[in-house]
Symmetry: C2
Subunit: 168 residues, 2 copies
Amino acid sequence: MKLTEAKQQFISSWGAFGTHWGINRTMAQIHALLLISPDPQTQDDIMEELNISRGNTNMNIRELINWGLVERVLLSGERKEYFSAEKDIWKVVKQIVKERKKRELEPMLQLLDRLEEVEGDKRDKSVKTFVDTISGIKKLGRQADKTLDMMIKAEESWFIGTMMKFFK
Amino acid sequence: MKLTEAKQQFISSWGAFGTHWGINRTMAQIHALLLISPDPQTQDDIMEELNISRGNTNMNIRELINWGLVERVLLSGERKEYFSAEKDIWKVVKQIVKERKKRELEPMLQLLDRLEEVEGDKRDKSVKTFVDTISGIKKLGRQADKTLDMMIKAEESWFIGTMMKFFK
DNA sequence: ATATATTTTCAATAAATTTTGAAAATATAA
DNA sequence: TTATATTTTCAAAATTTATTGAAAATATAT
């Protein structure tokens, strides 16, 4: 397979992959493009490569910056802004985990805390089922939260080494 | 908080949560409703509770069955079908992991295998960056695949116990 | 200061996804 | 068998989400 075709396939698949995980296709594609670009790219480079409008490009780049996956690069003597993505995949994964944990897991755990304190007699079957379900989710959620915290702090080598030993 | 309100909040939040993970809102809401329902529910029960149409209800129940999260229950002497969700959250998580692994992670790893074999000289910077990125993703992906395999087989007690020890 | 390049915003539009509801298919009862 | 209940399908409609592109804002150069 030629490089050009391989790049296109990667970008397109990364985009489709993203949509299965609640990430918009264009954002995932820009990320993919920057991941495989040796040098920082301008907005115009990205627009041209992916055939998308200036506004769309701009908004999604900003979103990637918010997620901590892309950074602005200023090249001396250049007026345009350049963008580049973190290439270390372990760091990328940790950053995504960190953000999703903060944006989704933590608020969900807070909600579960409140819901668990529902009024009513636990001898009432509907109260019991509700509280038991909420508690079960909360318990697993709290464990996930702790595990992810550790993962975020861990080095890839340590983490993979540990997993290898465990899950030989 | 009253049970009725708590239930509604849970269903609504579970639905919103789902959309952040590429799962349609209604499917997640039906799942939430069944999770907190002490007894199996009919299509009409679900339609009424969530204020959704018969077609929508039917399609999403089927989808939940495909995901292995809900099962049909036949009550003797009853003509209607009843539905209930697996209540053990650890089993639910394992089932979701298993399905997403099969549907998304495995095809992605297969694609990466093919992309890694791109033609061209690795001294060419653009080839090198591409291959290195693909290899990095593949390496982490393969490790995730193994780890998830183990998790799918593990008992909750073993898994949580292990994690607790590690991440004291 | 003015001109020019570049980035950002956002209302309008387009595209994708979800939902409806009525008709068709299927299953059960009489 | 015929009647009735129940489930399934799917084209059309509604809704949600993504994208465009031109105007406004900002930054840099002359």
